[in-house]
Symmetry: C2
Subunit: 712 residues, 2 copies
């Protein structure tokens, strides 16, 4: 591993982080609004700060224990100089920081966006987009920085034992999962509780300051949508990068590249793609300006396409120079283009199923006329339907990227999988602009809250409402992006897993234990009962994992509803606005639930692969990895798209359809939105983290599992 | 294939069918009740008859086309003398007959059960159980008859080309799927529509004759729960039997059996198990008597355990004689015992998650206090939770049954899979008693309707209500039984599929087309992108398929609600009971929906495996088969258990909890029940048929697929 390799990564990371600082400076220079707005924003910020601090204190001892376990049971036996444990620590720390920045930027941007909305849609859009850009650039910057720094530190260890890289991914994904789960529970407990009593029983609007759960709801948007999402996309980036790098290290120099000068093309390419995406994101983002007057979603799409085109051009220049005209380079370029097309297409699919401009959301709104039950069924149907085009995109992406690498390398199967990793890395290289597009959703959602609580004019609310509806769609888009990249990354990681398994078998001469001829290799065939059993256990995990999250939200929301009902009944003057509700009680319910309910799903995700691996062996564990993706992607698509569709069906009715606000159809749609909330913001996105935790922990522990497996 | 083999089957079939006639005679001798009850029962019977006739006329041309296609493209090229086409026709015809009998018996039993309820719980339980027994015995009888007759007719063809047997399974499963889908849509369109307006808007009880959808609802129970279920369990039996038989034919005589006299032990064993189960069911069923005064579910469980013990004893006697003391026989006996234990355990699991005696259903009832949304989230959570113990049972069953066959045969992998098929066959041998336990659910549900419509006394309703709640749980039990057997059968069928694929490759010397060395074999490895892509397409199918069914119910229920609302508004005197509602309009809405909405999911199930097979080839198709099970079983468990839990949460509140009937909690619970209805009675059980259609159609077309695949 040469230094120029890591320098590309460091260079890209520095560029991204500098631009994040520039954007953050821009955000801070904007008018934060009236003192009342600042006061509300500060209250939300302090609440979010307090929660994240408390959460990090809960997570930290757990992370320290894992670092020690990894060091003792993995690094010492492997002689890897603590690389895996240090990688885990770096990955975990940067994940926590990425999450913190996500939260810190949005709480500062939202009051300013509310203020900017007074000057019209363009101003608010521009500011929210730049605020999201800080998170996007920070995420991609920290991602590249972590991977590159790790390489500089452990160059030789990685060459000998590629699996050590997985420690980095495991740290990133474990913390991201914690933040997704606890943030998701926090935010939806508050949101669901606030909506059920506020909107349907008391008949007061969303974010009304008379609602005791309103501060908890707004804190929740920050710790859930922003901190959780920042950590989540950061881990996607890291996990994909390490998948590509492990495969590159396994492949070495492909035969038809040997003639070309240098031998690190495959290792360098993923980081170059990241570099290209950063430049593309910076330039593409410039398209969003204050002067945009209408169709914010259209403008965001144009920014995305500009970014994509620029990234492809830079990719072409890099590949042309790196591969010295070898045809393999162009095949991999085509694969990178496949990844970028996937981003654009999956964005259209999510848009179709979640925007109220199209039939799916409208059928939910229509079904709301005949009760909450038909609304539920219609929304669930839309979620289920959305899995089909998503699957088609996924299947085409896998086949196209695989065959490009396979054919381009003269029938090297491992190069086929590497090429899939390149397509995934190319997808994630657009993270900067994708996060900018995404993050204005929670930012405007929060701005909306400030507008309502500070009692700003109706026309300001119209602006933030319009952006909020667009944000629901772009949030669904990013989730689809994250799920799709997780599925593609999982395929690459499975290939790496299989290679590591056989390397360990050879290293320790365990052929007879695994029923192999000397020199043979374990293959994961569908006729093997251990593989089948692994597939079933893996297929189960997203369902069972989701049961904890949905159940946690339901339990916490139940308490929240009863608390809000109690305050309305026992504190006189709340509804008249003469008495203040006890916001702290609601914050406390969300906090307790988020921290208490974290343990069970976290243990499920961490212990299941270890138990399956140590008892049933690597064949079953391999099946588990694939099984979790096979059921997980569809459950995740169903829940994230369905949830967003319910939300926008409610918003569609609020535009005056089927009787508008406070009609029976609206009440039914609020119920549907309430059900969709934990689907789209708690369970759905957490599945994505689950899949990555399963993958990375399996690679980290592969050596111990191969040696110690009981049935094998 | 010797004649004694088929004679065992014919003998078992005759015994089962004779006993069905005996039971039917018993049912017919019972008092059908007052003239008003008879009148209502006749109206429902005529409606159900009319619908099934109409449905069969829609299905028949489709089935004829498939028969011709199979004959031309499969039987002629293979030189199999029309065996596959004839098998399909037999399977389809017997499936339709099994469905018809299911319906015909229940419509005749329900008014008699209502009448018997006047004499207390024991009388009603006894009669409903015997009525269900007619269906159970008919289903198992026709199953054995079809398989055995087919063997007598095509003995030599089957020996040469085992895949022809799959035609029988394809016919059975395709018709069962049609009946599950159309019956499921019919019944839930009526049920959901009736409940939303009747219970929550007009405040009239279930089955109130003033509700215009009430006749459609009762017809639906018969064409959905009874006809659909009869066809469904019949196909489970047939598909499992043929899976075991194909594997037996592939194996021939295992090495450690060669010394024993005779060589058809493996072929004979599945039918002997069926025989033993029939005898066990007849004897075990005798435990249910009029004298039972309380705990009907406990009594049914005892009947099940008695049946299981008797079946195991007979299995032991048969195996002891058949395998002449070879230890392999005892390993296979142990595997049969595993299958029977699975039935008992899975029954307990479904009971725990769906009966209101246990915490899961009670949490849903509790959550109903804070709105339909929290009720919905709680029910969804229970459905998701229930997947975990179901998966554990499935995994243990696979591993235990496989290793018993593998170890018992001296490490023959195919014998491992055969042993799994034996465990599955052993499960399904209990069909007689399982169906009896199940079918009293719809029978008492219908009896309930007659009690209400005929205005019988409150204490009669209490009896039928109690049995109805037990029926909700036993229906969930049978669905779990069907899903579990489908998953296990799919594993056996996949093994057969893989063998057939490689036989065809060898036969037509297609090694180079599939990138194999001459004499090599195609293996389904998880690192192959075609297998992975197949797994994703398969994983998608249950989700996408369900979207059509849930969507169909929602659309039809929407129409039904508007029609019922219209009648309440436009026909004066309905609510006072002075004017009759227009029942026919509601029947018409359900009928139209059931027949129209059948096409899309049916085509999805039939065309997807063919398209994937012909374009992507057998590797992707194999992945599809496993992928559909990996996601399908969990989606099915989630929906069937969740749906039953919602239903019983509502019933729990109706016992007076949380405010009882007409409280806000009850309204929320009715909404949850309404959502659960198409989960548990339309989409959930249909997934089971979907999985089997995919499996059987793939084996039927395996030769054409291997030869014609484009990418391979």
């Amino acid at each position: 591993m040469s230094l120029d390799y890591a320098l590309f990564g460091i260079g890209g990371a520095v560029l991204a982080l500098l631009y994040a600082v520039v954007l953050f400076g821009f955000v801070r220079r904007q008018d934060p609004g009236t003192s009342k707005m600042v006061e509300i924003a500060n209250a939300v910020r302090q609440g979010a700060d307090a929660f994240l601090n408390r959460e990090y204190r809960v997570i930290a001892p757990f992370a320290v224990v894992i670092v020690i376990l990894i060091y003792v049971f993995i690094d010492i036996p492997l002689g890897t100089h603590g690389a895996t444990a240090i990688g885990f620590a770096i990955g975990a720390a940067l994940s926590a920081i990425a999450g913190y920045i996500g939260m810190a930027v949005t709480v500062r941007t939202s009051s300013r966006t509310a203020q900017a909305a007074k000057n019209g849609l363009g101003s608010a859009l521009n500011l929210a987009f730049r605020g999201g850009g800080v998170m996007g650039m920070a995420v991609v910057g920290f991602g590249l920085l972590g991977v590159s720094a790790f390489f500089i530190a452990f160059e030789k260890t990685i060459t000998a034992t590629p699996a050590v890289v997985a420690g980095l991914g495991f740290g990133a994904s474990l913390i991201a999962m914690f933040m997704r789960v606890s943030g998701g529970i926090y935010t939806k407990a508050a949101d669901v509780g606030a909506d059920i009593v506020g909107k349907t029983e008391a008949g007061i609007p969303e974010d009304d300051p008379r609602n005791p759960a309103v501060i908890a709801d707004n804190v929740g948007d920050n710790v859930g949508d922003c901190a959780g999402m920042g950590a989540d996309v950061y881990e996607s980036f890291v996990v994909t990068a390490i998948a590509a790098i492990i495969l590159a290290a396994l492949i070495g120099v492909p035969a038809n590249l040997a003639a070309v000068t240098g031998s690190h093309q495959l290792l360098e390419l993923p980081l170059l793609l990241g570099f290209a995406g950063i430049v593309g994101s910076i330039l593409g983002g410039l398209y969003i300006r204050k002067s945009i007057k209408k169709d914010p979603l259209g403008a965001l799409n144009i920014a995305l396409v500009i970014t994509a085109v620029i990234a492809i051009i830079i990719d072409f220049v890099f590949i042309n120079s790196l591969f010295g005209g070898s045809s393999l380079g162009y095949y991999l370029l085509a694969s990178a283009v496949v990844g970028i097309i996937v981003v654009i297409v999956i964005e259209r699919v999510a848009d179709y199923f979640t925007s109220y401009k199209y039939p799916p959301v409208r059928t939910i709104a229509e079904a709301s006329q005949t009760s909450a039950a038909t609304n539920f069924l219609a929304g669930y149907t839309v979620g289920l339907q959305s899995t089909a085009p998503s699957a088609v995109v996924l299947v085409i992406a896998i086949l196209a990227s695989y065959y490009l690498g396979y054919v381009g390398s003269g029938s090297n199967a491992l190069m086929g999988v590497y090429s899939t990793a390149i397509a995934t890395m190319s997808m994630l290289s657009l993270t900067g602009v994708v996060m900018s597009i995404d993050a204005f959703g929670p930012i405007t959602d929060n701005a909306n809250g400030i507008v309502e609580m500070a009692g700003l004019e109706e026309n300001v609310r119209d602006v933030t409402d319009e952006l909020d509806a667009v944000g629901n769609t772009t949030k669904a888009t990013t989730k689809a992006f994250a799920v799709m990249s997780a599925a593609l990354a999982a395929i690459s990681i499975f290939e790496a897993f299989q290679n590591e398994v056989n390397k360990e078998i050879a290293l320790h001469d365990l052929y007879s234990k695994y029923g192999l001829q000397p020199g043979g290799a374990l293959t994961f065939v569908l006729t093997d009962p251990l593989v089948i059993v692994g597939l079933f256990i893996g297929g189960l995990l997203p369902f069972f994992f989701s049961s904890f999250l949905i159940g946690a939200v339901q339990r916490a929301a139940f308490k929240m509803v009863n608390e809000v009902r109690r305050q309305f009944k026992e504190i006189p003057g709340i509804m008249e606005g003469t008495a203040k509700p006890d916001y702290a009680k609601a914050v406390d319910i969300s906090t307790q639930a988020a921290l208490k309910e974290l343990a069970a799903p976290a243990l499920l995700a961490v212990l299941t692969p270890l138990i399956v691996g140590f008892i049933l062996g690597p064949l079953a564990l391999g099946g588990l990895l694939i099984g979790s993706v096979v059921s997980g992607v569809f459950l995740a698509f169903m829940m994230t798209n369905g949830g967003a569709a319910w939300d926008n069906a409610k918003k569609y009715i609020e535009t005056g359809q089927y009787g508008g606000k406070k009609s029976p159809a609206h009440t039914a749609a609020v119920m549907g939105d309430t059900v969709g909330d934990p689907f789209k913001d708690t369970a759905g996105p957490a599945i994505n983290s689950l899949i990555k935790v399963l993958n990375t922990i399996s690679i980290v522990f592969v050596s111990a599992i191969v040696i110690l497996a009981l049935l094998a």
